[in-house]
Symmetry: C2
Subunit: 156 residues, 2 copies
């Protein structure tokens, strides 16, 4: 009910003010006698008033045109945040999960010895993995593997 009132407020206002105005005119007419030949003036006044009212109403109610300006803002994300693994490329390489794990640790700058320690396996194992990584990625050095993997979005 309250909501209905809110949405139709302008209509109600219009109706009420119209009624009041008519009453006022009628009252004035009876009070001071109608000057018959001033009818044009009378109507003109009403026309002007209601034109003004219409203008006011229109300006009041007209929806503002929404001009959407899209500002392109470059977002510099912290590097790791925008990483989404390119699974297609990952599949292409044929890297196993363990090999990928080793590759990631390589990219973090760890030596084979450190990777071995981290994964609780021997240096030999990591060497094998690392060799397989290089082979599967078709590169000759770990630095190349890292660069390529990053470009392919295989690692962050």
């Amino acid at each position: 009910m309250r909501k209905w009132f809110a949405t139709h407020k302008s209509t109600i206002l219009y109706t009420v003010s119209l009624g009041i105005l008519l009453f006022l005119l009628r009252w004035l007419e009876l009070r001071f006698m109608v000057i018959r030949y001033a009818l044009e003036f009378y109507i003109g006044a009403i026309a002007i008033v209601f034109t003004a009212f219409g203008i006011w109403l229109a300006l009041k109610l007209s929806r503002p045109k929404v001009n959407t300006v899209i500002v392109e803002k470059q977002i510099f994300l912290p590097r790791p945040a925008d990483f989404t693994l390119n699974e297609k490329e990952l599949e292409k390489t044929g890297l196993s999960t363990r090999e990928l794990e080793v590759l990631q640790l390589m990219a973090d700058g760890l030596s084979n010895q450190e990777i071995a320690a981290k994964l609780y396996v021997s240096l030999s194992t990591i060497k094998t993995h690392s060799s397989k990584v290089l082979e599967k990625m078709d590169v000759r050095r770990r630095t190349q593997a890292i660069d390529k993997a990053k470009k392919l979005n295989i690692i962050p």
Copy 2:
């Protein structure tokens, strides 16, 4: 003259239409006799007509309200494009231009020998540079240097 007419077209139109309407009303009044007690109707009609006219006028002439909404659009640039060198961090490291050059080539996966060839210097020189790079960046391996440099935005 024509321009004056163009700019005041609405005013003229308003005046003329007002005149015509008054004449029409007057004519109707004389023609069919004024029903005295229908004055309220008469005025109401005029009020409505001119309110409508006012609304039309307002909508026609008023500048559209422009509500500017700024939408920030995130642009994710391809990796190499979004690089802006962090000069502060670069200064902190104390890397010379040549050393930075070597570091960048390192990050591209080049071996010292390849870097030497590319820069037309000897392997020894690159080894010296590379050692200095590692020393200045406080790391022990080139992979670490690359990782750190990328995180500090010293290289793309």
